[in-house]
């Protein structure tokens, strides 16, 4: 019994079909709704509809004291939770002028870089699974479980960390953590050969990603795209290098940049970035100083009135905390500038004219985490 609704003739001769690449879709990595206008296979226009996992982080910040907003930070972008923790703590320390001991800075950098590797592992492998290769997803997760074990020993949680405190970190890292990290890094370097054989030299992957979803440098500038999506288009902008914070100036690492700006370029930038993160971790482990891991900080801090903007680099791009404080224990306004918000909006400019299959590939290469857009 086919229930043919009344077919009004206007819909017959119009060739444009509207498809909901909707909230519940295997390739949207969360609840992202892409409203596509299609002419057969070709996308005419794409309108991302967001807000399906909007939880009101910024409203919560306005009725909590400064310390209580810490768990929220790692739930904004749960794949780089430690990086967001570090960013929030450094923003408030900058306002209050709290001095963080050297060892705490090193521990923060080590844990953030480990978190960046685990985030890239998931981002790349989920993107490759969207294109159709399921085995790398299993390999990637296997490596990621190792990182989660190492971080769990110190921070206590696997995904939504709350490890940093104002003035330092919560627990100290011991020799076992350092050896575990070194063993993991040697193992991951060996695994990179498998990934390159499995993905980079795979003819199907190359055909699906070469020359697809190109973000020209000019469009990236207009839309405020940051992170690996921008570095794939030829602009060497990495907050750790351009606007150094914490102890990053002390390490030698390069920013991987590619010129083509297509989906393959973004993938290669992320893979090269993992190697840079490993280099940073090794240098940080070698130069790990002894000393306290937390400065003497009063139990409730109240930063002086005024505002401050602190930018740092998460796995997806440049994140920024714009904090307005009125001198009391409760923040007046915390605005989180998240990279995926601008990275996703670029899709409306680069998707029209591609096929649907390329839309899935481009969306995966932008590596979007939806609660980071919806906050």
């Amino acid at each position: 019994m086919l229930n043919i609704k009344t077919i009004d003739d206007t819909s017959i001769n119009e060739r444009v079909y509207q498809l909901n690449l909707g909230p519940q879709h295997p390739s949207t990595h969360g609840v992202l709704h892409l409203l596509l206008k299609l002419d057969g296979e070709v996308v005419i226009s794409a309108d991302p509809i967001v807000g399906y996992s909007h939880r009101g982080h910024e409203k919560m910040a306005e009725n909590r004291i400064w310390e209580q907003f810490l768990p929220n930070t790692s739930r904004i972008d749960y794949l780089s939770g430690l990086i967001y923790n570090q960013g929030y703590c450094m923003a408030v320390e900058k306002m209050c002028g709290i001095e963080v001991p050297e060892r705490a800075e090193y521990i923060r950098v080590i844990t953030s870089e480990l978190n960046r590797i685990s985030s890239h592992l998931l981002g790349i492998m989920a993107f490759v699974m969207d294109i159709g290769a399921f085995t790398p997803f299993l390999y990637g997760w296997d490596d990621r479980e190792h990182v989660l074990d190492i971080l769990e020993r110190v921070t206590g949680s696997r995904l939504t960390y709350c490890y940093n405190r104002f003035g330092g970190v919560r627990n100290d890292i011991d020799q076992e953590f350092c050896d575990g990290t070194r063993r993991f890094i040697d193992r991951l370097r060996g695994r990179f050969k498998d990934y390159h054989n499995l993905i980079t030299e795979n003819i199907i992957f190359i055909k699906r990603t070469r020359g697809v979803g190109i973000i020209p440098e000019e469009t990236a500038l207009e839309f405020g795209v940051t992170g690996p999506s921008l570095r794939g288009s030829g602009v060497a902008y990495d907050v750790r290098k351009n606007e150094p914070y914490s102890v990053y100036p002390g390490f030698k690492f390069e920013i991987p940049v590619r010129k083509e700006g297509d989906v393959m370029a973004r993938y290669q930038v992320r893979m090269a970035e993992m190697e840079q993160s490993m280099k940073i971790i090794e240098q940080a482990l070698d130069g790990l100083p002894q000393g306290p891991i937390r400065a003497r900080v009063p139990r409730f801090i109240d930063p002086p009135a005024g505002d401050c903007y602190f930018a740092f680099e998460s796995a997806r791009g440049a994140v920024g905390y714009y904090i307005v404080s009125d001198g009391t224990r409760i923040p007046y306004r915390i605005k989180v500038r998240t990279p995926s918000f601008s990275n996703l909006f670029v899709l409306t400019r680069i998707l029209p004219g591609n096929f649907i299959a390329d839309t899935i590939a481009t969306l995966g290469s932008i590596d979007v985490v939806v609660p980071e857009i919806d906050r």
Binding site: Y52, K59, R75, W141
Partner: protein, 188 residues
């Protein structure tokens, strides 16, 4: 602008939770249903429906180390082929109609697992003036199993799924096993 008192608990329409207008099987005598439950239990196909942080732990449970495949649990992406809806993450107001559509589009015997504190009671985002989320999946769905944690560890999710299996077979598997053990002990 008057202070709008936003109700802490979001109650959609009249009925509190979506009553599933389900009719029991026509030929539904007990032994046949138990037999069928055994078959259903060993191939629970959940729908990939990750909303937020818990979706990553759900994926971790599906991957190599915690491997859901050994329980016959394969993630299906369409509601048409899935039996279990694992609500993994925070339910926002904007998402409620979609969840109800997906729930109604799932066929046959179906169950709900509320994974994570957000799906149980709003979790870390439930407070007095919260305007954006529904405090718990049981406000809109008939939830069978609650898996606490923020996010729960993959082992927690696996225990939730095993608990669901026990609930489906109404403990007949365990009951039989206990009965046999008691019989053997009595014989000794």
């Amino acid at each position: 602008m008057a202070v709008k008192e936003c109700s802490p608990v979001y109650v959609p329409h009249a009925e509190r939770s979506l009553e599933t207008k389900g009719s029991p099987a026509i030929l539904g005598f007990a032994v046949l249903q138990d037999l069928l439950n055994l078959a259903r239990v060993n191939s629970l196909w959940p729908m990939t429906f990750g909303i937020a942080c818990c979706s990553i732990e759900m994926m971790a449970a599906g991957m190599a180390r915690f491997d859901l495949d050994r329980f016959g649990i394969i993630f299906r992406s369409t509601p048409r082929q899935s039996d279990v809806m694992i609500v993994a993450g925070t339910i926002s107001h904007k998402f409620v109609p979609t969840i109800k559509t997906l729930w109604e589009q799932m066929p046959g015997p179906k169950w709900v697992i509320a994974m994570g504190n957000c799906a149980i009671s709003g979790g870390p985002f439930a407070y007095e003036g919260q305007y954006a989320i529904v405090n718990g999946a049981d406000k809109i769905l008939p939830v069978d199993i609650y898996v606490p944690g923020c996010p729960p560890r993959p082992e927690g999710l696996i225990q939730g799924l095993l608990q669901l299996q026990k609930k489906i077979t109404k403990g007949t598997i365990d009951a039989n096993r206990r009965a046999e053990k008691a019989a053997r002990r009595a014989k000794k």
